[in-house]
């Protein structure tokens, strides 16, 4: 594909999704500490549309995980609220499935059993054969049909992450939440998984909220990149719109001059305007 395809007028802009799905309203989180209350996040307001892929980037300690935890329901906001389809989020639920940083697969089960347990827990009333089909179908989606009967302890980190993604997608969440999903993987596995995630997202059209440390990953995957300022009291510094057409290919994006503009913008934000203290010292 040539770069010109990217600018084809009939191609729909990537960020075009459905209506608003997830709304952050004046969201704030304060943690009590022995040294007094510590504000992690302050005044976060933005909206994620149905079917949108949003990445969140920021230095460690800026409250990215806290932000996601308030979407998944593991943490409660101190002020403001997060609304899903207009309803405030109160507790964890399968409509906001999480792909955990450490995979969080049950090691005494096989890959298949892990995915099946998810389906079976969320939709216990489905007929047995349908639940099995859903589990196998999603394992196939991440290319794990052959390893379905392997114990989690017998498979590699990349395969574990695939199982975790299959488990998350199999329950058809409205929002898929990923907390630095590819951070622990080697470069090649990481690129493979990014591409798989993207192709699955293209077919399932679920909404994705993903934390990352990697600007290139965000530029390849996301419709929008939320860049957080440093804590305490971190907020949204800037939101980049990444409107490369979809489906994307790495090569095409790399040839697009906008890629470098966006990349420089993000780098400038992270390493000049909001350089981390520790990074400066280093």
């Amino acid at each position: 594909m040539s770069a010109s395809v990217l600018h084809h007028p009939s191609a729909s802009p990537a960020s075009a999704g459905g209506g608003p799905l997830l709304r952050f309203e004046q969201l704030g989180k304060v943690y009590p500490t022995p040294a007094g209350p510590y504000p992690v996040l302050e005044n976060i307001s933005f909206t994620v549309n149905q079917g949108e892929f949003v990445c969140v980037i920021g230095h460690s300690g800026c409250g990215k995980s806290t932000l996601l935890n308030m979407v998944s329901g593991f943490a409660k906001p101190t002020s403001g609220q997060v609304l899903l389809n207009g309803r405030p989020i109160e507790k964890p639920g399968p409509d906001r499935m999480v792909v955990f940083q450490g995979y969080a697969l049950l090691p005494w089960m096989t890959a298949y059993e892990n995915v099946y347990l998810g389906v079976d827990s969320v939709k216990p009333k489905l007929p047995e054969h349908e639940k099995r089909e859903i589990a196998m179908e999603h394992l196939e989606m991440v290319g794990l049909t052959a390893a379905a009967e392997k114990k989690i302890t017998q498979i590699s980190g990349g395969m574990k992450q695939r199982v975790a993604i299959a488990r998350a997608l199999a329950i058809r969440p409205e929002v898929l939440i990923l907390d630095e999903p590819f951070g622990a993987l080697d470069a090649i596995t990481k690129e493979e998984l990014q591409e798989e995630l993207l192709s699955i997202w293209n077919t399932q059209k679920c909404t994705v909220l993903m934390i990352t440390h990697d600007i290139d990953e965000a530029l390849f995957l996301a419709d929008r990149l939320v860049m957080m300022t440093n804590g305490p009291a971190a907020g949204i510094g800037e939101i980049l719109s990444i409107d490369f057409i979809r489906p994307r290919s790495r090569e095409d994006i790399m040839e697009d001059p906008r890629y470098y503009e966006l990349r420089n913008q993000a780098l400038d934000f992270l390493y000049n305007r909001f350089a981390h203290d520790e990074d400066e010292k280093a």
Binding site: S72, F74, K91, M97, A104, W108, S121
Partner: protein, 282 residues
């Protein structure tokens, strides 16, 4: 091992060992020291008995004393009442252990899970558990006799109360050690408590539970001897030893102790084997 092949061939007059010789070569380091150690101990014991340094009969008395030799070679006889072979005495003791230990396992695992899941319960009862587990088996005997007014249930109670603590404390620890990630998965999937129990809690805590069960089987066996010695009149290996002591059959005491040690060892090995069989994938 091939480490010695070079020097052997350099001498040129010896071929590498095969068959039995090879087996002996590989295993002699495991076989010779225990034989020397145990043999040396028995020899020292026999000598000090023969020289009259102690009133305790030497190991040879198991064969030289006619009454003891009969007990040694005929463990299955039953002349009614308390006049039985050692195997039958041991089985009586073991059946009591089985009853008390099973009760301890059921109550211990259930209470351990409750305490492990509930911080309030844990704080309320942990000091009590820590205190009670330090009470020696013999100290429980009078309490048991007062409580039950009858030797049989009292003996079972002593087994129960001695073997419950390691099971309870280890189970509670195993439940507390369930990784937060697994709990979070259960929360997101909104697993029913029954499903969480069978699919997450029990498999996750199994290793700890078995550690407790293994420690307890040893304690239960120790306790039954103590209980039977103090509560004579019922068949059992503890009673047998006490009876032998009353009649000054010193070599019978020695034989009884050999049985106790051997059974304790077998019970421990059995639990170790079960532990390995049941919890491999972790």
């Amino acid at each position: 091992m091939t480490t010695s092949s070079a020097p052997t061939t350099s001498r040129g007059d010896r071929t590498p060992p095969t068959g039995l010789a090879l087996w002996w070569k590989n295993n002699r380091k495991l076989i010779v020291p225990p034989i020397l150690g145990i043999g040396g101990f028995l020899l020292f014991w026999q000598l000090s008995a023969s020289l009259g340094l102690t009133k305790l009969a030497g190991p040879l008395s198991l064969f030289t004393e006619e009454r003891t030799r009969e007990l040694l070679f005929y463990p299955f006889f039953d002349r009614g009442g308390l006049d039985k072979g050692l195997f039958l005495h041991s089985m009586s003791s073991l059946s009591r252990v089985a009853l008390g230990y099973t009760l301890a396992a059921i109550v211990g695992i259930a209470a351990g899970i409750a305490v492990g899941l509930n911080k309030g319960l844990d704080r309320a009862f942990d000091p009590l558990f820590q205190f009670l587990r330090m009470v020696a088996p013999l100290a429980w005997v009078p309490i048991a006799l007062v409580l039950f007014q009858n030797n049989q249930p009292a003996a079972i109670f002593v087994i129960f109360i001695i073997s419950i603590w390691p099971i309870l404390i280890n189970t509670a620890e195993g439940v507390r050690q369930i990784p937060q990630d697994y709990r979070n998965v259960a929360l997101v999937l909104q697993m029913s408590s029954g499903r969480f129990f069978t699919k997450v809690l029990i498999p996750s805590a199994l290793l700890y539970i078995f550690t407790g069960l293994r420690i307890s089987i040893g304690l239960a066996w120790l306790a039954i001897i103590a209980a039977e010695i103090v509560m004579p009149g019922t068949p059992g290996i503890g009673f047998f030893i006490w009876d032998a002591y009353q009649n000054s059959y010193v070599s019978d005491i020695v034989l009884g102790v050999v049985w106790i040690g051997a059974i304790g060892l077998i019970l421990d090995r059995l639990m170790a084997w079960l532990q390995q069989r049941i919890s491999p994938g972790q």
